[in-house]
Symmetry: C2
Subunit: 150 residues, 2 copies
């Protein structure tokens, strides 16, 4: 992982559809060399996958809410319970008073209410606190330390 790898990652996070020729040019490498480096980054798991980013509002996820989940028991192995709810797009175990923090995308506040009810039904959950997002300033990929060329 040198600075060229980081530059490649930065470019691929912006647009993974460009050709290796273009990509290589952007970081000062031939197409073949760029290809080989990207292949290795995939192999190492640095690049997990390349995926289409979908506008949440276009697929019924216009309302974004963060929910802290309190519990009476250890929630460390409740991952599947949260994963079973398709509206839950993230779930994390957190330090602090609450046990789990989840990110929820719903089409409406009505649907949010339904998700909260289903979260409450999970074993050990003693309460939820929902924080509705009014406006998203930005959501962006983790910075690999910004490209130095191109």
């Amino acid at each position: 992982m040198d600075h060229i790898d980081r530059a490649l990652l930065a470019h691929l996070q912006q647009d993974a559809t460009q050709s290796y020729a273009t990509l290589g040019q952007a970081v000062g490498l031939s197409a073949g060399a760029a290809h080989e480096r990207v292949r290795k980054l995939r192999e190492q798991g640095v690049i997990r996958r390349t995926a289409a980013e979908v506008d949440p509002a276009a697929v019924g996820g216009g309302v974004l809410t963060y929910v802290t989940v309190d519990s009476t028991s250890w929630m460390g192995d409740s991952a599947e319970s949260f994963a079973a709810l398709p509206e839950v797009v993230e779930a994390h175990v957190i330090a602090g008073s609450a046990a789990v923090l989840v990110k929820v995308r719903t089409a409406s506040t009505g649907q949010l209410q339904d998700v909260l009810r289903r979260i409450y039904a999970i074993d050990g959950v003693s309460g939820t606190r929902a924080t509705v997002v009014l406006e998203t300033f930005f959501e962006r990929p983790v910075s690999p330390g910004i490209a130095d060329q191109g």
Copy 2:
């Protein structure tokens, strides 16, 4: 946006490197038809971009923290102030007592402390409350309502 479009989106969220032939087959379409639908989904902005997903830990983002930011004044146009901090990967205006919720990725808790200091220096910010994530159960794309073939 019919059920075929949603199936295409679901497949492309999982893997955008597959050929249009494979993709079309998965949803019961020819390669040309799949290509045309995907082109339109891009044009409409339903597909925002196709990007490489990078392992945060591999690029110095191993520590994930959510920070609620309290303020004395209206924060509605402070987007750039947060965007200027590369460790901040999300920023949202929220309903409730705090004004802004941000998601931060840092290499260490030391670096987190530095980010908190820089957030505190933003005009109008009166306080921060950091919640460190101990374990991430999952992070996944918004569900377009799951493929009906495939």
